[in-house]
């Protein structure tokens, strides 16, 4: 079913969405979305939601199951503490994406902003995955505790850096795959780099394959460049800091 969101306040809109899900709808399209916040927050039902337009902040926060596709840019706070499900953004995204994400997938076709993937965590079989097709700002993967973070740098200007500074600062779990070379001086002190292994290649294959099919990016183009793997040098990076 389709809901016209034009001029609808977020509270009404989200109520309509929840009512539709409760009534058994499995495929919901929201048209003319502009700035409505909290869409799909806390939703657990395994439904498909399509958003046409630019949704407001905290999209898919605490989401736990649905597949959400956005045709347009998104703002800040997407997939905040998301537990399960998939979010596909066919556009650019703002800051603080996937904060505290514990599971599920967040695929962004374009560029992402600052503080993406902060404190992503893994728990037992829950592994959150965030893939950004373009560039990122400072603090990419800050405080990472688990999960998989990928940055592809597609479509950027010649010579433009793929990410900002303080990459992985405070990293103590999880793994990052960055397409191309990574300047270690832009990474936190806790980060180490490694060559990709066969295991890593399999991981890339699995998730990038899905990413490309969801966003229309070109897998061959992506795989022409070697990836760098970033990992945390310690799970206790601040052991020597304190005087006991």
């Amino acid at each position: 079913m389709t809901i016209d969101a034009k001029g609808v306040y977020y509270r009404e809109l989200n109520q309509e969405v929840r009512a539709a899900i409760a009534a058994g709808e499995t495929d919901i399209v929201l048209d003319n979305v502009n700035g409505q916040r909290y869409i799909a927050d806390g939703v657990r039902a395994k439904v498909n939601i399509t958003v046409n337009g630019v949704p407001g902040n905290d999209l898919a926060a605490f989401m736990d199951g649905p597949t959400l596709t956005v045709n347009g840019n998104v703002q800040d706070g997407v997939a905040n503490t998301m537990n399960d499900g998939k979010v596909v953004i066919n556009g650019n995204a703002g800051d603080v994406l996937g904060y505290g994400m514990r599971g599920g997938k967040l695929y962004i076709k374009g560029d992402v902003g600052y503080r993406v993937g902060i404190h992503m965590k893994g728990y037992k079989q829950n592994i959150p995955v965030v893939i950004a097709g373009g560039t990122a700002g400072d603090f990419f993967g800050e405080y990472m505790a688990g999960g998989i973070l990928m940055l592809l740098g597609l479509g950027r200007e010649e010579g433009a850096p793929i990410a900002g500074d303080y990459i992985g600062t405070g990293m103590h779990g999880g793994v990052m795959y960055i397409r191309g070379e990574v300047d270690l001086s832009r990474c936190g002190a806790e980060v180490g780099t490694m060559e990709m292994t066969d295991e890593d290649d399999k991981v890339l294959d699995t998730y990038l394959g899905e990413f490309c099919s969801d966003t229309g990016c070109d897998m061959d183009e992506i795989m022409k460049v070697k990836f760098t793997k970033l990992y945390p040098k310690s799970s206790r990076p601040y052991g020597r800091l304190y005087a006991y």
């Binding site: 630019v54 407001g56 703002q75 700002g137």
Partner: protein, 373 residues
């Protein structure tokens, strides 16, 4: 030395547009944009600034003055304040016109301070009497500081030429309706939605904060306020409006107008590059950046911020160095938009050419085409 003030912090949503070709649009446009971000504020403060709105008086400084109670101070006779202020203006300036600012009471904004505007010029005899090479702008600044500091209950909230600030207690869209901004035409508009926690009900605390033709709307909190304020007091600025954003306006007046720094350098003082980046610069640039920081360290703005500066010749937007507040810019034709949220821009222009998130600490500076102002 007064250490006993209280200050409030500034939330929470802002939007701005500039038509570089000088095409004037009504306040209804920016109203629509800021209204979309209704939830960023709490209804306790809203305001807008506009440039190009007084073409008939464009060589006159347009003083917008509110006569109102001040938080934490005893009640005063506001008509007396008005009388005293007008006498002061008549004595020291050439007043072409003094009138009430037209307003419309609505169920959203039911009561308001006395709101007046005056179109004034500096009198050559009064300026000469100051002796030592004071400029007209200096004279106006000193007049504004005097009224704000010394006349109880009177607050100048706008003092530039061919521009004005309109602000009060209420959501910005309601404030825009209250001042009937749909009837004004301007080529630069900024708007702000506030979420104050300390000083509810204080009309003077809403944004924008202005001095001469600088107007500032700000999202964030200035954690360096304590020292920014004391630094500015050394140069005669009075923080009369109980809100941290006030210092931003005066820092720019000091650095750009009085010290002659290029605007871009002044922006670099406010959002200074980190030492780790300065250390990597080529020696001449490094020396200059170090010097700016050494001399103007007390003017560094710390804390999260996104700020829009309007001035006679353009609009500037800037973020703090680690991008702790949202900030989006966009273009369509001759218009440049800047706002806290992309959707606020799309609400008034769905079909944008370019949309981007400016880099932390790197300003977006847009100038009006030559000859516009």
């Amino acid at each position: 030395m007064d250490h006993w003030w209280q200050k409030d912090m500034s939330g929470c949503g802002l939007s701005g547009l500039i038509n570089t070709d000088g095409a004037r649009v009504s306040g209804a446009v920016i109203r629509k944009s800021i209204a979309l971000m209704h939830d960023r504020g709490n209804g306790q403060g809203g305001g807008l600034a506009a440039y190009g709105i007084y073409p008939d008086h464009k060589d006159y400084y347009a003083f917008h003055i509110m006569y109102t109670e001040e938080p934490g101070k005893p009640a005063r006779d506001l008509e007396l304040a008005q009388k005293e202020t007008e006498a002061y203006l008549d004595k020291n300036l050439a007043v072409k016109l003094g009138e009430d600012i037209p307003v419309k009471i609505t169920d959203k904004v039911r009561s308001h301070p006395i709101l007046r505007r005056y179109f004034v010029k500096v009198r050559p005899d009064k300026l000469a009497a100051q002796g030592f090479g004071m400029s007209e702008d200096d004279f106006i600044v000193s007049t504004v500081m005097h009224i704000n500091d010394k006349i109880d209950g009177a607050f100048v909230f706008s003092s530039g030429k061919n521009m004005g600030a309109f602000k009060g207690v209420g959501f910005p869209e309601d404030i825009a309706d209250f001042y009937m901004l749909e009837n004004y035409q301007g080529y630069i508009w900024t708007a702000h939605n506030r979420f104050p926690t300390n000083t509810q009900g204080w009309w003077g605390g809403a944004h924008p904060f202005t001095l001469l033709d600088w107007s500032i709307v700000h999202n964030g909190e200035i954690s360096s306020y304590g020292i920014n304020r004391r630094y500015l007091e050394m140069f005669g600025y009075k923080m009369a409006l109980h809100t941290d954003t006030e210092v931003v306006t005066y820092i720019f007046d000091l650095l750009v107008r009085r010290h002659g720094l290029p605007v871009q350098a002044a922006l670099q003082v406010a959002a200074a590059p980190f030492w780790k980046d300065v250390d990597r610069m080529p020696p001449e640039e490094k020396e200059a950046c170090e010097a700016l920081r050494m001399v103007y360290g007390s003017a560094l703005l710390n804390g999260p911020f996104a700020i829009l500066f309007g001035h006679t010749h353009g609009l500037i937007g800037i973020n703090d160095r680690i991008k702790l507040r949202p900030f989006v810019a966009a273009t369509k034709g001759k218009t440049v938009y800047m706002a806290s949220e992309e959707s606020a821009i799309r609400e008034i222009e769905p079909d944008l050419e370019k949309v981007w998130a400016p880099r932390a600490g790197h300003p977006v500076m847009v100038e009006l085409d030559k000859g516009v102002a």
